[in-house]
């Protein structure tokens, strides 16, 4: 399904701000895997997701999706295979456009956009149904501008947009980090629901160890731009936060650097 083979990325090479963000990341996901990614600040979690999304080219290594080598494809061309939800609720939606227009834009991900109507009547009906399932009251506000929605509503909408056209891989980049705990929980519930119903393969970066343990069938921990821990199956089910912290110290020889992740 997803094969990440020894990818490297250094930002600002040769300048005073040089930062080597990925130092040989290897990861393999099978179809239907829901993998959570945890790690301290600067571990390379989001960077890895951006590498898969094609925000910039990697320096070395290969990324294969469904057997296809996508390493050389620019972001907008990979978008056809990928659904993405970002940390900042502002990033995933177009604020000055209507809810239904945003959905219609997402429904055409990976397709060529010609001179057909940007949104059809049948689509509107379909979107109304899908929004009703989200249960956020958005089905009656289809022509409202997305900028009027709350952060949680925007994230739920972005999730819907990312999965409107079944993606081969769903990338969730700390998509609940900017939300209050209650809303975050709700968005996570919707996330689980959508992933399960559509049998999606997903990568979810999170700062929250509990969430990382509670969701998905796999968990990886990153440190210094590498995957240092890879837990799956039964082992993941039995995992506790204390285990994770202990493992981290064993593998990295350091204490876990994020209070937010431990205390959350």
């Amino acid at each position: 399904m997803l094969n990440i083979i020894d990818i490297h990325k250094t930002f600002n090479l040769g300048t005073i701000n040089e930062k080597s963000a990925l130092n040989g990341v290897d990861l393999h996901l099978d179809k239907g895997d829901f993998c959570t990614i945890i790690g301290g600040n600067g571990a390379g979690k989001s960077t890895m997701l951006n590498a898969v999304a094609g925000v910039w080219p990697v320096d070395r290594g290969a990324i294969l999706l469904n057997g296809q080598n996508i390493t050389g494809l620019p972001e907008h061309k990979r978008a056809g295979f990928l659904g993405r939800v970002f940390q900042d609720p502002m990033t995933g939606t177009a604020a000055s456009m209507e809810i239904e227009e945003n959905l219609a834009l997402a429904a055409r991900r990976g397709k060529s956009r010609k001179l057909g109507w940007g949104i059809t009547k049948q689509e509107k009906e379909k979107y109304r149904e899908l929004l009703r399932v989200l249960d956020l009251g958005l089905e009656d506000r289809m022509t409202s501008k997305v900028g009027l929605l709350s952060g949680g509503q925007r994230q739920a909408l972005t999730l819907l947009m990312a999965t409107l056209q079944q993606p081969n891989l769903l990338l969730l980049d700390e998509h609940t980090a900017a939300l209050d705990p209650k809303t975050a929980e709700k968005v996570l519930r919707v996330t689980d629901q959508i992933i399960e119903e559509n049998h999606l393969t997903a990568l979810m970066v999170t700062h929250n160890m509990k969430d990382a343990i509670a969701h998905g069938n796999r968990l990886i921990m990153m440190h210094d731009g590498r995957v240092i821990l890879n837990i799956a199956g039964e082992e993941k089910k039995k995992l506790t936060v204390a285990d994770l912290l202990h493992q981290f110290e064993l593998v990295s020889g350091e204490e876990f650097a994020s209070d937010k992740a431990i205390l959350a």
Partner: protein
């Protein structure tokens, strides 16, 4: 006193139709500015050059015996090319938006001179050629320019409702989201800039006919007039229609903005102010209209206001404690 005695209201009234005709044509140009400035969020300064290109192309082709509609089509195409150049400077060469526009604009000055055979201006006689619009026949000009505006508004309304048009709007609104949804934002930017300057080229072609000449300096300040029309139209539209504003009406109000701007210019000229001060005056109008929404917002939401409110709160607490 003699100054006021010389101001004849009838003169102003007589000048009004001419202002309306010119206003509509500049309004068409402003539709182009609207596409880049508002939809793409790209302040495109190419228009000062591409407007004059539209003028020059139309006049030279008409003088060469090309039928007017064909000449206008070429003017549109020339504008499109200018926009394409700006778009490529920005997307392919990474030059910032404003600078890309300025570079094309300055380059077009030479190009336009070449088009006009190195003459700074060329006359186009309305007696010799069957011009679509001309200040010799203002009612007809208002009608034709109005029809052009109407057709273009319909066309833009349709286009920006299509998949492709929507992708341009998304690009202007949120580039990250657009890329994540598979939109090639370099392509949409180039497309929008070309489309915008095509409209500007057409407006230039109409203006050259209306005035009966093409001049190398004709587009100077076009961007500011375009912005004036867009912003006057917006402020006015929001004030009149409030929540009922939709995309088609926004475009109509851009044209209205152009007309109002030219009526104001007409009044300035009627007041016998020096016409050389017009550019200064235009800048002041645009600055004023740009400032209106900001100042309105700040009045509702200022520290001065909260300072006063806080004093009242302190007073109330003091009374309670006593």
């Amino acid at each position: 006193m003699s100054y006021f005695a010389a101001l004849n209201p009838l003169n102003l009234l007589n000048a009004l139709p001419g202002c309306i005709a010119q206003g509509i044509i500049w309004g068409i140009m402003a539709l182009g500015v609207y596409v880049t400035f508002r939809l793409l969020d790209f302040a495109d300064l190419t228009v000062d050059g591409s407007f004059a290109t539209g003028c020059a192309v139309t006049v030279m082709l008409t003088l060469a015996g090309v039928p007017i509609p064909a000449a206008l089509l070429v003017a549109i195409f020339a504008g499109l090319l200018a926009g394409l150049v700006t778009g490529l400077l920005h997307t392919a060469l990474g030059i910032p938006p404003i600078l890309s526009g300025i570079l094309t604009q300055i380059a077009l000055y030479s190009v336009n001179l070449h088009i006009m055979g190195m003459a700074a201006n060329m006359a186009l006689s309305s007696q010799k050629y069957n011009l679509l619009v001309s200040l010799m026949n203002i009612p007809k000009s208002i009608l034709i320019a109005g029809l052009f505006a109407l057709a273009l508004i319909s066309l833009l309304y349709w286009y920006f409702g299509t998949e492709q048009g929507s992708s341009i709007r998304a690009t202007g609104c949120n580039p990250s989201m657009s890329k994540a949804n598979g939109i090639n934002i370099n392509f949409t930017k180039v497309l929008a800039l070309s489309l915008s300057n095509g409209l500007v080229g057409l407006a230039g072609g109409l203006m050259a006919q209306y005035q009966g000449f093409s001049d190398i300096n004709m587009g100077r300040g076009a961007i500011v007039i375009g912005l004036a029309a867009v912003i006057i139209g917006e402020v006015l539209g929001e004030a009149i229609l409030r929540k009922h504003m939709n995309f088609a009406l926004r475009l109509v109000f851009v044209i209205m903005g152009g007309i109002i701007y030219y009526i104001v210019v007409g009044i300035v000229l009627w007041l016998k102010l020096n016409s050389n001060d017009l550019k200064l005056f235009t800048a002041i109008i645009v600055a004023a209209f740009l400032a209106v929404p900001y100042i309105q917002g700040r009045r509702k939401n200022s520290f001065g206001r909260t300072a006063k409110a806080s004093l009242a709160a302190l007073e109330a607490r003091k009374d309670k404690e006593e």
